[in-house]
C-alpha cells in the first residue's frame, strides 16, 4: 500500500522497465531518485568529492549498460544501489579490483525508497537506531561498513578481542533488522 507521500510516484520497477527499453528520461529519473544516496555513501567512504563523483558515474552507467542486473528479486533498487556504491567505494579506497560483481548483490528485503519521503523516513530511522547503540558498538559497525576494515584490523585498532568485535557487529546488524522488522512484515 502506498503512503500519501508515495502516491503518484512511479514504482522503481516501472522506471527500470522503461530504461530497459532504452528510455533515457527513465535513466534521468532513476538518477534523480538515487544519486543522493549513492553520492553520500561514496563520499562518506572516500572523503573526496572527485572520487565520489567517479563512483556515482560508474554505478549509474553500469546500470544503463546492464539494466538486467537489477530485478525485484534483488530487494529495493535504492538499497541495492547504496550497497553497490559502498562496495565500489571501499574497493576504490583500498585501491583494489572490484571484489563483488553487481549481479552477486542480492538483498533479502529492504525498505522501499522510491519517494523522497520514503528515503528521509528510512534515513531518520537508521540514524535513530545507531544513536541508541552503545558508542563502541556503533563505532565497530561503522569501521567495518564505511572504512572497509576487516574484523582483525578492527581488533588491532581498538585493542578489543576478535570475539568481541564479531559479537558487536552481529548485534548491531540485528538491532537494525529489529527496527525495520515491522515495516518488512506489513
Amino acid at each position: 500500500m502506498s503512503s500519501p507521500e508515495t502516491r503518484g510516484v512511479a514504482p522503481d520497477l516501472a522506471v527500470v522497465a522503461a530504461m530497459r527499453s532504452g528510455d533515457q528520461s527513465a535513466m534521468a529519473e532513476l538518477y534523480d531518485r538515487y544519486s543522493g544516496i549513492v553520492y553520500a555513501v561514496a563520499l562518506r567512504v572516500l572523503g573526496d568529492t572527485g572520487a565520489a563523483e567517479d563512483v556515482l558515474q560508474e554505478i549509474f552507467l553500469q546500470l544503463w549498460r546492464n539494466p538486467g542486473a537489477f530485478d525485484a528479486a534483488r530487494g529495493s533498487l535504492g538499497a541495492w544501489l547504496a550497497v553497490i556504491a559502498r562496495n565500489r567505494a571501499i574497493d576504490s579506497l583500498r585501491r583494489r579490483r572490484p571484489e563483488t560483481d553487481i549481479e552477486d548483490v542480492v538483498l533479502a528485503v529492504a525498505p522501499d525508497l522510491a519517494s523522497e519521503a520514503d528515503r528521509s523516513r528510512a534515513a531518520e530511522k537508521v540514524r535513530g537506531v545507531l544513536g541508541a547503540m552503545p558508542p563502541p558498538q556503533r563505532s565497530v559497525l561503522e569501521m567495518a561498513y564505511f572504512e572497509g576494515m576487516s574484523h582483525s584490523e578492527i581488533a588491532t585498532k581498538t585493542g578489543e578481542p576478535l570475539g568481541t568485535i564479531k559479537t558487536r557487529i552481529r548485534a548491531g546488524l540485528m538491532a537494525l533488522r529489529k527496527a525495520f522488522a515491522t515495516q518488512y512484515s506489513t
Binding site: G8, V9, P11, L13, A14, A17, A18, S21, G22, Q24, M27, E29, Y31, D32, S35, G36, I37, A40, V41, L43, R44, A52, E53, L56, Q57, L61, W64, R65, G68, G78, A79, A82, V83, A85, N87, E103, D104, V105, V106, L107, A108, V109, A110, L113, A122, A123, V126, L130, L141, Y145, F146, S150, H151, S152, I154, K166, I169, R170, L173, F180
Partner: protein, 257 residues
C-alpha cells in the same frame, strides 16, 4: 531449516566483507552447502544496506548529472526486454562443480551412465529448441523496439496519419507489449500512461512512456499483477511521475481484440 548458530557471527562479518583468513574460507565452504545460511546472508546484507541509508551529505553537483546523461546519450544501446543472462553466483558455480563430480562417479556405473546420457541428450535437445525460440523472440523484440527501425502505418489514402496503439497482452504470463505510432508530442513535464482496464476493479497502471521524435513509443513487460484478464487498454496524459489512477480525459482506448 535454520541458520547454523556456530556461523551466525561470521555470517554478519562476511555480509560486510569484513571476514578474512581461515574463518572466511571455512564459511564459504559451509555456504556452498547450506541454503538457510545463504538466505541469512542476503538478509544480513539488507541489514547492512540500512547503514548506507544513514549517510547524510551534500547532493552531487549538477555537472555529475550532465556528465552521466552525456555518456548515456553516447551509448545508445539496443533495448533490452528481458534479462536473459543467467545470474552468476559463486554458490551456483560450486553447485555445478559438485554436480560434475557426481556425474563422474556415476559414469562408472554402466546402466546409470546410459540413462544419464539419454537424459543429457534430451536436455541438450530441449536447450537447443529453447535457445532457438529465445533467439527468435529476441529478434522480434529487437525489431519492435529498435530505435533505427522504420515504422510504417497504412491508412486510407488522403487520410492524415492518426495516433494509434497496439497492445499484445498474455494474461497468464502478465506479459504486455505495447507499440504506438503518430502520437502527438507532449509538454516536457507530461508523460503518457498506459492503463490495463480489468474486467473488475480499478484501472491498473501499465507503464509510462514518451514518444520519440517520430511519435513512436513502446512499452515492454511493465510490472502487472499476474493473471489479470483485461477488458481493454487505455491511455491518458499524466504528470511526469505518473499517476495511480487515470486523469481524464482518456486520449486513446482500445476498441476490442
Amino acid at each position: 531449516m535454520s541458520v547454523h548458530e556456530q556461523f551466525a557471527e561470521d555470517l554478519a562479518l562476511y555480509a560486510l566483507n569484513a571476514l578474512t583468513g581461515e574463518d572466511r574460507v571455512t564459511l564459504e565452504q559451509h555456504l556452498a552447502a547450506c541454503p538457510a545460511c545463504r538466505r541469512e546472508l542476503e538478509q544480513l546484507r539488507a541489514d547492512g544496506a540500512l547503514l548506507a541509508l544513514s549517510t547524510v551529505g551534500p547532493k552531487p553537483p549538477q555537472r555529475s548529472r550532465q556528465r552521466l546523461m552525456d555518456a548515456v546519450a553516447k551509448e545508445t544501446r539496443m533495448p533490452v526486454a528481458l534479462s536473459t543472462r543467467p545470474r552468476r553466483s559463486m554458490w551456483g558455480f560450486l553447485g555445478w562443480a559438485a554436480a560434475a563430480a557426481v556425474i563422474v562417479f556415476a559414469a562408472s556405473l554402466w546402466k546409470e551412465n546410459a540413462a544419464l546420457k539419454r537424459d543429457v541428450s534430451s536436455i541438450h535437445g530441449l536447450l537447443d529448441r529453447q535457445t532457438a525460440e529465445l533467439e527468435q523472440a529476441r529478434g522480434v523484440v529487437d525489431s519492435i523496439t529498435n530505435p533505427e527501425g522504420q515504422h510504417f502505418t497504412l491508412v486510407a489514402l488522403k487520410a492524415p496519419p492518426q495516433p494509434q496503439g497496439k497492445a499484445i497482452y498474455v494474461p497468464k504470463r502478465g506479459s504486455l507489449i505495447f507499440i504506438a505510432n503518430n502520437l502527438p508530442k507532449l509538454p516536457s513535464q507530461k508523460t503518457y500512461e498506459l492503463w490495463l482496464i480489468p474486467e473488475q476493479g480499478a484501472p491498473i497502471p501499465a507503464g509510462l512512456f514518451k514518444p520519440d521524435a517520430h511519435g513512436s513509443a513502446t512499452v515492454i513487460n511493465p510490472p502487472l499483477p499476474a493473471a489479470t484478464i483485461a477488458k481493454a487498454f487505455a491511455m491518458t496524459v499524466e504528470d511526469e511521475a505518473g499517476a495511480s489512477s487515470p486523469t481524464m480525459p482518456i486520449v486513446m482506448m482500445s476498441t476490442g481484440e
